[in-house]
Amino acid sequence: METAFIIETIVKILVVLGLFSALAGFATYVERKVLAFMQRRLGPMHVGPYGILQVLADGIKLFTKEDFIPQGAVRPIFMIAPVITAATAFIAMAAIPMFPEFTIGGYTVRPIISDMNVGLLFVLGVMGIGLYGPLLAGMASGNKWSLLGAARTAIQFLSYEVVTGLSVLAPVMIVGSLSLIDFNNYQAGGVGNWLVWKQPIAFILFLIAGFAETNRTPFDLLEHEAEVISGYATEYSGMRWGLFFIGEYANMFTIGFLVSLIFLGGFNDLWFIPGAIAILLKVFFFIFLFIWARASWPHVRPDQLMWLCWKVLMPIAVVNVVITGIVMMFF
């Protein structure tokens, strides 16, 4: 039993690592295509049919590029920083139940690497540690743009960590558990039971904070080309740069899974759609939303970002928690 469990966990880890690395690559292709279509362009067209092998070409390029470390950089930290980003992005996935249970040859598989009772806390905490990747990368690069990017990372991630935590607190109060499986089970039984109807404000706040945590367009201050060249990633090249982006896309998937699980019914069956496909549809909708917002909206200034976080979103989140508490106490 013990050996079986270890083997099962290792297989799950390998599947999650491989699958989400590949999905991150594929997401870059989808992002370029969707952005192009929204801007009346064609996007990548030359490598393979409709440019579908562009991912492969990019991968070969990233792997074979010189791993360049600038002279003024702090070598060990500069080298370890991208690993932190990618690793935390994947570690956060350990506590996310991706699919409903299924059976292969009489053996029941639970598609979650570790079903801990504080799963949500673990995911948010590990994603919070992910801030060390860009922060250390920027500070170790010995470059002004990187340093500015790192400073922005620190303020943005730390501030929005507060909004994430507070906004998710109200659903946690309602469900009474931090396990994502409990969240999922709480919403079993159709669209009417989804938490988004009970907590619409928390849903919107969590989504906004998700954009900030994954460093997506309305809040892509860390590496905005027009302002800070490439932010913390200015000095990076090759696969170390690639690791940052695998981490970013993995985080996008994590946020997609989190939002689907917490607010949108998770992997419960949706009408005639089986649960596994339902959650995939939801996650892909959120990935599409990330890309869609990038095509549609300009990004905000750093001062607007902080203003939005501390003067708008955080008070709303606190009021939401208080009102939820009062309603739960008296009704």
Binding site: V34, F37, M38, Q39, R40, R41, L42, M45, W292, A293, A295, S296, W297, V312
Partner: protein, 203 residues
């Protein structure tokens, strides 16, 4: 409106409109009201709608360049061509040297000699395309419409020698049938005959 008149018409402001700029809020309460108003307006959703509609309409404007090319204006000043007379196949160039004289970047060189009929012909005609700025003076000044600008714009080369070949510019004898009367830079306009005025000699 036709001809030159449309260029002389400078009344371009007819389609302009004044952008309404609301007064900047002064008190904190006004600022707060503006924030609420702007937050609750569906501007962000309208932005999303526009991009989604563009995607669904799939109205792609990309030209896949090496495979597809945009048509070039007839007045485009590309690589020069030396034309021949359509009937005889003789070179049009009479070796007058005007193009050599007018060329502002000094990149045209002509060598001439009288041929057996006593007609002056160019033995050498080179344009250093590495120096040519494609101003079009040579085509404009040519009295015989012999040196004209072609439509070709892909003329990168590794060899400087390839920037100056007379053989490349001159219409080959076997392709004389395909040589078209040049409508572009330096050629008389289609209505040139009508535009000519009689010299007022009857004073």
């Amino acid at each position: 409106m036709s001809g030159l008149e449309q260029f002389q018409d400078r009344n371009v402001s007819q389609n302009y409109y004044r952008v309404k700029i609301e007064p900047y809020p002064k008190t904190p309460w006004e600022k707060f009201k503006r924030v609420v108003r702007k937050s609750l307006k569906p501007d962000l959703l309208i932005g999303l709608k526009i991009t989604l509609l563009e995607m669904l309409r799939f109205n792609i404007h990309t030209i896949q360049y090496p495979k597809e090319k945009l048509p070039v204006s007839p007045r485009f000043r590309g690589i020069h061509r030396l034309l021949r007379l359509l009937e005889s196949g003789n070179e049009r160039c009479i070796g007058c040297g005007l193009c050599e004289k007018i060329c502002i970047s000094n990149c045209i060189r002509i060598d001439t000699k009288p041929d057996e009929n006593g007609r002056k012909i160019p033995t050498e005609y080179t344009i250093n395309f590495g120096r040519c700025i494609f101003c079009g003076y040579c085509a404009e000044v040519c009295p015989e419409l012999a040196i004209v600008h072609g439509q070709e714009y892909e003329y990168a080369s590794e060899q400087r020698a390839q920037f100056a070949m007379k053989e490349d510019m001159l219409t080959p004898l076997d392709k004389l049938k395909e040589q078209k009367e040049y409508p572009g830079f330096g050629a008389p306009t289609p209505a040139a005959d009508k535009l000519i005025k009689k010299t007022p000699l009857a004073y």
